[in-house]
Amino acid sequence: VSKVLQKSDQPATQAKPVEEPTGARLPFAGLGTSPAAVRQPKGPPVLLAYSPDRNPDVFKVDGVDRVLPILRTVRCRAGTNGITRRKNGDFDLSGLEDNLRESGWKLIDPTRYNVAHEGGWRPVWSTVRADGRVVESPAKYAAFVASLVDDGTLPPPSEAGIERQAEHLRAVATHPKMVDRPRDREKAEARVRLLDAALDAAGAA
């Protein structure tokens, strides 16, 4: 139980961003970014969005289980989710922002988690291998999401959301046939315990 992290419980374990963005301009229009030109990126930037209505989940951050929001990854593709591409190569996100707002999402400032990489972009939770391949790290990603909660960019998961996810996983863990899948059952049970503890901690706070 003591390993359940809420911001108010364990400030000493606050996660830090895994890599500092370079501050280079992203090829977006409609977000008030600087006019410096970046044309036709090789790898488009990634976008993250947060919704208070989405259930949180349990992620491991620096070896400690934490209850964190499940963010939405919006891939920068013209023609999807209201995104368009301007003639100069910039992505126009105004339609995306309309759609996100209409369905309760908030776009998280993309300058915080995209770094320039070989004429394109890569997320700060990725690493570049010796062969040049960019590989995302789920552990670094979880640390990054934790840092967004710790620095106040995102609110900690709501009691209602934690309760919904705990209820969902409780139904999974107690399904009669989960006895045939001990590893998955134990994982679900452990997460239910962590979510319940987080719920208690949130209630106590």
Partner: protein, 315 residues
């Protein structure tokens, strides 16, 4: 796009031991999403004057019910509940430029206009599948948990949540479930163990013809499609498939027309063109389509959501 030169194919496709009338298609998911009520065609942008349109969602046909009014009292005006979705389309294109040498020495019979036209047709249809798969990971509601295999218990919970959020039970044949092969494999394994071998996997041939080879059958009232285009989630830790009802996913395209002798429109939507570079002795085969997809009704404000994202282990 660089031309396809003879030197490109000389060392790997034209060596004598593999000169053969047969060729193998590289193994990537060739199955597009089928026509299905859950995938709502919203707009042909031809003549629309724009590539961006707002699609209204209106609470008509019984969304808001009548109020009881006292005898002799005036009935106040009812407010129409509404929402809106922004749908955009963008140009998607590809071009192949074989040299004359490649075409004339072609022993496989594939470096020709007919093959490139077939490739264009399938590529653009699969692009739409790719676009739709990459929006349905964004529903507000989720089921499953990170790094855990998809199970029948998770899917049962997802359906219950979807029914509650959509304020309706799922009519058989109206909901579509889209899973990555990783997810489907775990789900199927769990189904087999739950059914004790009693459940047989047999999709009738006539349904396969309608739904395509990605169709994995109907189960729990949902038509299941398995696609490699389902994206990752949580930075590659998971896959994010989905289940959704009509109105949750919208897509649009644009009809095109050919206005030159070397152009032809495939299926009204794909412009396929031939462009001869006489000096370089290359012929380009170019195709364009205009496609777009977005989430439809997934409103927190109205508490009305028609889709749910399924998070499970990537394997």
């Amino acid at each position: 796009v660089a031309a396809i030169t003879f030197s490109d194919v000389l060392t790997d496709q034209r060596v004598s031991e593999i000169l053969n009338a047969e060729w193998l298609r590289l193994a990537k998911d060739p199955n597009a999403l089928p026509n299905h009520p859950a995938i709502r065609y919203a707009k042909d942008f031809a003549g629309a004057g724009t590539l961006t349109l707002k699609i209204p969602a209106v609470g008509f046909m019984g969304y808001d019910l009548p109020d009881q009014i006292a005898e002799g009292a005036d009935v106040p005006d009812s407010t129409i509940t509404d929402s809106q979705v922004t749908l955009t389309v963008a140009r998607y294109s590809k071009a192949y430029s074989p040299t004359d040498v490649v075409k004339y020495t072609d022993s496989l019979g594939i470096f020709n206009a007919a093959s490139f036209a077939q490739d264009a047709m399938q590529s653009h249809v699969l692009k739409l599948t790719d676009l739709i798969a990459n929006v349905v990971d964004g529903f507000n509601a989720t089921a499953g948990t990170t790094t855990q295999n998809l199970s029948i218990a998770t899917v049962a919970g997802a359906i219950a949540t979807l029914e509650a959020n959509a304020h309706q039970s799922i009519p058989v044949g109206m909901a579509l479930g889209l899973l990555h092969p990783d997810q489907w494999g775990d789900f199927r394994t769990d189904l087999i163990s739950n059914a004790g071998g009693a459940l047989q996997y047999h999709v009738p041939a006539e349904k396969l013809r309608v739904m395509g080879l990605g169709y994995a059958g109907e189960f729990l009232g949902i038509d299941w499609i398995v696609s490699d285009y389902v994206p990752t989630a949580n930075a590659g830790a998971d896959r994010a498939g989905a289940i959704w009802l009509p109105g949750a996913v919208l897509w649009g395209d644009m009809s095109q027309y050919a206005d030159s002798a070397d152009s032809v429109v495939l299926g009204n939507k794909i412009l396929f063109e031939r462009d001869r570079n006489a000096r370089g002795a290359t012929t380009s085969f170019i195709s364009h389509s205009y496609l777009g997809a977005t989430l439809g009704i997934d409103s927190s404000a109205l508490s009305h959501r028609l889709g749910i994202t399924l998070i499970s282990d990537l394997n």
